[in-house]
Structure formats: structure tokens, C-alpha cells
């Protein structure tokens, strides 16, 4: 990417915005991965 940032503020707006979207994805991704990871485990009572 050749976006040029003249100020720290612009740079942070850019990088934080991407990071916020990323962490949303990570949160959902981790949940799905956990389901995949434990998919073949024997079923146990949830409570």
C-alpha cells in the first residue's frame, strides 16, 4: 500500500480501523475454530 501518512494521527486512524475489523474477524474465527477443534469430541451434557 502506498498511502502516505503525514501525521501520526492519520496513520493511527488507518491502522486502528483495520485492526478493529481484524479483531472482529479473529473473535468469530476463534469461535469457529474451537467448534472445529472439538467437533469429534464425545458429546457431553452442556450443563
Amino acid at each position: 500500500m502506498d498511502t502516505i501518512f503525514y501525521t501520526l494521527q492519520d496513520f493511527m486512524i488507518h491502522s486502528k480501523s483495520i485492526t478493529y475489523i481484524l479483531i472482529g474477524g479473529i473473535l468469530i474465527g476463534l469461535m469457529l475454530f474451537w467448534l472445529f477443534l472439538t467437533g469429534r469430541d464425545e458429546k457431553k451434557r452442556t450443563f
Binding site: 502506498d2 501525521t7 494521527q9 493511527m12 486502528k16
Partner: protein, 367 residues
């Protein structure tokens, strides 16, 4: 007036030139170092030249179409009390202690247009931003009115329309951004009769300020306020008195406000990445413990069942044993009885044989 129109246009050209050059520099630096918008403008305020005439306040009021104050601008008695910027006054001049020559020092205050503005960093709707002219401008169409920018500003500049119930705005100096875009210079600079204000590219102003300090070392403190305060500001100040004495804080440091919060901001995503792992881990461990204790319970039960079984078996066996024994005994008894009977029978037969004169019906009966 600090500079002529022609000079100003020249600056614009120079700014465009430096822009082209520094773009390459920025790229080379891989965006790790931020030097601000190249050629952005600023104002140099030489407090030694200011006479406290309030012409700048008047011009500001007019240019920004603010309501006229009750006390007219030519009434200098307002200087007797210290003032700050307000929702209807983007700039105010204050009078401070007598200087060495017995003259009062006047200092104009307004938004300093930080290179890395604390207000913009604090704004959660991007209503405040630094633009390439050097101005920090405000967009009322986004503002929620949370006033966090006022908390953040180290110079206590932004003001708020507290008496506007539904559409209050943040009010602060715009460095006359609309005028700069039109090729004009800020209203206050234009109106200053003593050239206490100089408008121009910030880098050039820094040079000017240094030249003045060098030329008149007795007149100035060897310091340019705003060169590095809070990461640097577009407004720069020269003074003959320590800045502390003319109402300017010397303890702000050189870090941009954004660096104070960058740590916590960086912690946030890491927590989002780590917490699910940690918490699910704790959950899994507690679940596992629960499962183990459950299994142990089941095992204990089955073990006790098994033990009980053994005992039962033993008892059964014993029972069986006694039963067999009893049975055997019973059989033996029967056998013995039968044998005895047989013996008796043979005996009686023998007796009968020996006594043939006995009636025959008896023998028939025995058969």
C-alpha cells in the same frame, strides 16, 4: 500585516514544491516517522511586539461571524481579568506581569493547531482533524457533543455551546482555514497593526524566530514555544519573559497526545486475541475437572458394586456348598435307609425261607 499577498502566494508555490519532495522522503521512511504535512502553515506570535489593542479579537469576531460582545473591542478594561477562549471568542488577549522595561506583556491565545492534535486523537467520530494547510478543523455534522476533546486539549482551548439545548457545537479557532483555501491570510494576522503575528509556512516561521532570537538575544528568551510542545504546534511563540510567567505551561512535554493513549489502544486488540483462548482454556480445565470427578464418582460406585458382588458370590458359594452338603447328607441318609431296608428285607426273606411253613401271602406282600 505580517506578509503581503504576493509573498503568501509564493509560499503556496513553495509549499507545493516541498510537498512533491517530501512525498518521496516519507515513502523512504516507510511511514514510521511523521513530520506533519509538508509546507503547512502556521503563525508566529511575537509577544514582545503585542500592544494589547484587541484588533485581532475584533477581526476574529467579524471573520467568523460570532455574536458581538457586550463590551466593545476598544474597551481595554477587559484585560484586567484573565480570560480564556469561549464559544463566542475564538481568540483572547491577556495582560501579564510587567517586563524588564516596565511594560506589560500581552499574549494572544487561540487554538495552537497542534501538529498531532490531542482533540483529534480523542474525537470518537473524527469530527476534528488536522488538514494539510496546518489547521485543525471541526465538522459539526459529525459531532455528538461528548466534550472529550475539551478534556484532551492540553491548552484548554475548545469551548462548547452549553446554552444550546439540542445542537451544541464545539467552538474554536479554525486558523481561518476557509480563508487560507481562498488564498487569504487569517483575520487576526491581517488586522495586527504591530506585526506581532506572522503567517507563513511553519518551517519558515521557525527560521524567522531563530533569526530574531539571534539578532536580539537580550530581548528574547532563547526558546520557541510551540516548536516541540505536545509534538509541536502550528502556532509559535516568542517571548521576553519566561513562558511560565505569561500563562503558558512549560510542563507539557514533547510527546504528541496520541502517544499517551497508544499503549492502551494497542492492548485492546491483544486482549481480544488472548482472552478467548485463556477463558476457553479455563473453561475446558474446569470442565475436565468436573468430568474427572464425575468419572471418579462413577468408578467408585462401580467399585463398590463390584465389591458387593464378590461378597454376594462368596455368600452364594457358601450357600451352595451347604446346600450340596445337606443334599449329600440327605442322599446318604436315604441310601443308608434303603440299604437298611434292603438288609431288613433280605433278612426277613431268609427268615421266610427258613420257615417255609409260613403263609405265602406274606411273601407276595413284600414284593
Amino acid at each position: 500585516m505580517g506578509i503581503s499577498r504576493r509573498q503568501f502566494l509564493g509560499f503556496l508555490g513553495a509549499a507545493a514544491g516541498t510537498t512533491a519532495v517530501s512525498v518521496k522522503k516519507s515513502e523512504a521512511a516507510a511511514n514510521k516517522e511523521f513530520k506533519g504535512y509538508p509546507g503547512s502553515f502556521g503563525v508566529l506570535h511575537d509577544t514582545t511586539r503585542c500592544i494589547g489593542c484587541r484588533k485581532c479579537e475584533q477581526a476574529c469576531n467579524k471573520v467568523n461571524e460570532l455574536p458581538l460582545p457586550k463590551i466593545p473591542f476598544d474597551d481595554l478594561s477587559v484585560l484586567n481579568t484573565k480570560r480564556r477562549t469561549q464559544q463566542d471568542a475564538y481568540t483572547v488577549v491577556n495582560r501579564f506581569v510587567e517586563n524588564n522595561e516596565g511594560q506589560p506583556v500581552f499574549v494572544k491565545s487561540q487554538c495552537n493547531h497542534c501538529l498531532e492534535p490531542a482533540c483529534a486523537s480523542a474525537c470518537f467520530v473524527k469530527a476534528l482533524r488536522k488538514v494539510k494547510t496546518g489547521a485543525v478543523i471541526y465538522d459539526a455534522s459529525l459531532c455528538v457533543g461528548c466534550r472529550y476533546c475539551m478534556i484532551a486539549c492540553p491548552f484548554n482551548i475548545p469551548a462548547y455551546e452549553y446554552n444550546n439545548p439540542l445542537t451544541p457545537r464545539i467552538m474554536k479557532c479554525t486558523m481561518c482555514h476557509p480563508r487560507i483555501e481562498k488564498g487569504l491570510i487569517p483575520g487576526c494576522v491581517e488586522s495586527c497593526p504591530k506585526e506581532a503575528l506572522t503567517f507563513g509556512p511553519r518551517e519558515k516561521l521557525l527560521k524567522t524566530a531563530r533569526q530574531r532570537i539571534e539578532k536580539y538575544p537580550d530581548k528574547y528568551i532563547d526558546y520557541i514555544y510551540g516548536e516541540s510542545e505536545m509534538g509541536g504546534t502550528s502556532w509559535l511563540y516568542l517571548s521576553g519573559r519566561p513562558f511560565k510567567e505569561i500563562g503558558m505551561r512549560e510542563d507539557l512535554g514533547i510527546q504528541p497526545a496520541a502517544t499517551f493513549t497508544s499503549g492502551p489502544l494497542a492492548t485492546v486488540p491483544v486482549i481480544v486475541g488472548l482472552w478467548p483462548v485463556l477463558l476457553t482454556g479455563i473453561y475446558a480445565i474446569s470442565k475436565r475437572k468436573e468430568k474427572i470427578s464425575e468419572e471418579e464418582r462413577i468408578e467408585a460406585v462401580s467399585r463398590s458394586v463390584a465389591v458387593a458382588g464378590e461378597v454376594m458370590k462368596a455368600k452364594l458359594a457358601a450357600l451352595k456348598d451347604t446346600m450340596t452338603k445337606e443334599k449329600e447328607a440327605a442322599i446318604n441318609l436315604e441310601v443308608r435307609r434303603a440299604l437298611e431296608e434292603a438288609a431288613k428285607k433280605s433278612e426277613s426273606e431268609q427268615q421266610a425261607e427258613s420257615a417255609k411253613d409260613e403263609p405265602s401271602d406274606t411273601s407276595k406282600e413284600d414284593k
